[in-house]
Amino acid sequence: MDDKNSTESNLDYQGGRAAVRDGHDSVRREKPEPVAGGSNKVLISWVVGAGIVLVMAGGYLGGYSNFFDSSDSYIYPGYVAAARPVVEGVDTDAEQEPWIEVWMKDGKKVYTNCIACHQAAGTGTPGLFPPLKGSEWVDGGTERLGMIVLSGVLGPLNVSGSTYNQPMPAWGALNDEKLAQVLTYIRREFGELPEGQSGVVTKEMMKAAREKHGKRTSPWTEADLLAIPGDAELPGVEVDLNTGQPVAGE
């Protein structure tokens, strides 16, 4: 610093606490302020990276946006907008959704577990996964059905005239409510129910099924299942489809 004397006198903070002359050299030692402009290197690696990012972003937008066409589609697979909750013991007025609709919507959510094999429309995959539509197992008694979902099926199984031989997983890990909902859903949605039946499976019925089923750990075979009478129903009271409450007079 050639001009040291004049610099120092100018650096004196007269009014301030700090006398620059007493060793305040932080200002002096620093480099000039950075200015705009300068190097224009645009790294090839950044450009390549930018290309990848653009492709990723395009794929992302295409994949998740559903092409902006519907306000009724959601990213969460199988998401169904929540139904208005039904308050127990409260009179359902006309505006409130009937209990069965809520129950079916929840059932549809649980059914996302089954779509991979039985398909959204319950048609199954020929030769591999049996259909639920038109299946005598679905239309028949609820006891067999409850047992099937609780511990799955292994070995050949005859469904509407064809034989299938793939394992059906056990769903006992789902709680009673969810299982009751999904069974109600497949019965009402895909089944052809006998006259006068609502197809509803209630939580109590599923609970009874679990008790009957006991601690069985192995999957069912066709023979075991056929040993259960085809019209055996799980015990449970009939419920009002609007309120979900037991039908009066019970």
Binding site: N40, K41, V53, I75
Partner: protein, 496 residues
């Protein structure tokens, strides 16, 4: 040596000294009050995580309920510390880069008083249970206009300085400060008007809230932090930004993209799929500016990284820059649904927020404060040991928080995703990790106590009065070898 900046001229030095003197009052005011808030915020962070880990504790005292401690902690961290420290950095940088003296120091301090009083009021209200439970906007509705006004005074002064600037073309840091000054009032007013004064649907309000949080990050914390990094790094390393053009591109990319983010916080939520899809796309495109920052960070310090051994400013700033890049990558990664279904609404979100507000922004601001304060006070930091302490405890703390919150999120996320499961189950799964959160906040509190103490010493003019900066390491042997590595003349290294 074509890449190296020239030595400063005598006029430069006189001019800087005059600017620093004019900045002394407002900048020190903002720094010292911010540091006080920071200490409080970290204590609250510690208390709230202890409470979360052991909910039975202090049951008799409603003031120590988690639901009151946690928002008070976040709000004092963001508005008391973060934004306020940012004001100090913005004012000083703007004055230096525009080469103008600050003429309205007293007005700025008055605005700062209003800001501090409002935040104090807000934090006390939230803490005592009168908050409105909207994250980062918890203050009672009648407070935001006061914050808005005091912010307007500060931003107005920044813009006036910019108009009076002596240098023609604005440097990148000036652009970022200019942008942040204008973006904040926009997002703050929009979010408050919608949330507090036009009761829309609850669902949309949650969306607006998330939009505000993300925009406060990308329209305020990121630009202010980058403005500081783009100043401090070239200044200390002694050469210009590696690619100025990339820095410009990154600025405009940020400006265009930031406003679209936010709904990505609700990827699986009940929003029509195009809304989170657009936000997620913007988050992925953010990798463009973030990549540019990474390139510039590496390019500018490459070969001179050993300076981080000495200069606290450089070390804190580079740590922050690395955190920023990691944050961008993690957030982009989490905007894919398969990942976000495990992480969203879990502790991982908290980890990300802390990562950007503390790991990036606060660390960069510490770097700036270590640079600025010796210049405006005329003395040097009292103790290198305390600086080291501050750095290591902060960085251990922050890394612990981020890592453990992500693990906690993974442990929790699956349970939250099960819509019919028991919610408490998800809480229990994350619990063990919360202990680490408490420990980390304790570390950070202690670190900040050291920082606060040093800053107060400096503010009272009790710093070291010797020639030469306070360097992290001063072992002569080490210094010489590092200088040799950096290819420097000995005198050159003294750039703390």
């Amino acid at each position: 040596m074509s890449e190296t900046m020239q030595e400063a001229s005598v006029q430069d030095i006189q001019e800087r000294a005059a600017i620093d003197k004019s900045a002394r009052l407002p900048v020190l005011f903002f720094f010292t009050s911010a540091a006080g808030w920071l200490f409080l915020a970290t204590l609250l962070g510690f208390a709230s995580s202890v409470k979360l880990a052991a909910p039975e504790l202090w049951d008799a005292c409603p003031w120590l309920a988690y639901g009151q401690l946690f928002p008070a902690h976040m709000d004092s961290l963001i508005y008391g510390w973060g934004m306020q420290a940012g004001f100090g950095v913005m004012i000083w940088l703007m004055a230096r880069l525009c080469r103008v003296e600050i003429k309205n120091g007293v007005t700025l301090v008055a605005a700062g008083f209003v800001w501090n009083l409002t935040i104090l009021f807000g934090v006390v209200a939230v803490w005592s249970g009168y908050g409105n439970s909207m994250p980062w906007l918890d203050f009672p509705a009648y407070l935001w206009p006061a914050m808005f006004l005091s912010y307007a005074v500060i931003a107005g002064s920044l813009l006036m300085m910019f108009r009076r600037r002596r240098e023609g073309e604005a440097y990148i840091s000036q652009k970022y400060i200019f942008g942040a000054a204008l973006w904040f009032p926009w997002i703050f007013a929009v979010a408050n008007l919608i949330l507090n004064h036009t009761g829309g649907s609850a669902l949309m309000n949650a969306g607006v809230n998330a939009w505000f949080m993300n925009n406060l990050i990308y329209f305020w914390f990121v630009p202010v932090g980058l403005a500081s990094a783009y100043y401090i790094i070239p200044k200390i390393v002694g050469r210009p930004i590696y690619s100025y053009q990339l820095a410009q591109i990154a600025f405009w990319a940020l400006a265009v993209l930031a406003g679209w983010t936010g709904f990505n916080r609700f990827l699986g939520g009940p929003f029509p799929s195009w809304m989170p899809a657009i936000s997620g796309t913007a988050i992925i495109l953010m990798l463009l500016p973030i990549g540019a920052v990474a390139v510039n960070l590496l390019g500018t310090i490459s070969g001179r990284g050993s300076l981080m051994h000495f200069s606290p400013s450089l070390r804190f700033t580079v740590f922050g820059g690395i955190m920023f890049n990691l944050y961008g990558l993690l957030v982009a990664f989490s905007s894919y649904f398969d990942i976000s279904r495990l992480l969203q609404f879990s502790y991982a979100t908290l980890g990300y927020d802390i990562m950007v507000v503390y790991g990036f922004f606060s660390m960069v601001v510490f770097g700036a404060i270590y640079f600025i304060v010796p210049r405006i006070t005329g003395c040097e930091w009292p103790s290198a040991k305390l600086i080291r302490f501050h750095f290591w405890y902060s960085s251990y703390g922050i890394i612990t928080i981020v890592a453990f919150m992500i693990f906690a999120g993974l442990a929790q996320g699956g349970a939250i995703d099960d819509w019919s499961g028991d919610f408490m189950d998800s809480v229990r799964r994350g619990k063990g990790y919360i202990v680490a959160l408490a420990v980390a906040w304790a570390l950070i509190s202690v670190a900040n106590l050291a920082f606060y103490y040093q800053l107060l010493m400096m503010a009272c003019g009790k710093g070291r009065k010797s020639e030469g900066p306070t360097l992290i390491h001063k072992n002569p042997g080490e210094a010489a070898s590092a200088e040799a590595a950096a290819g420097f003349a000995p005198e050159d290294t003294a750039k703390a």
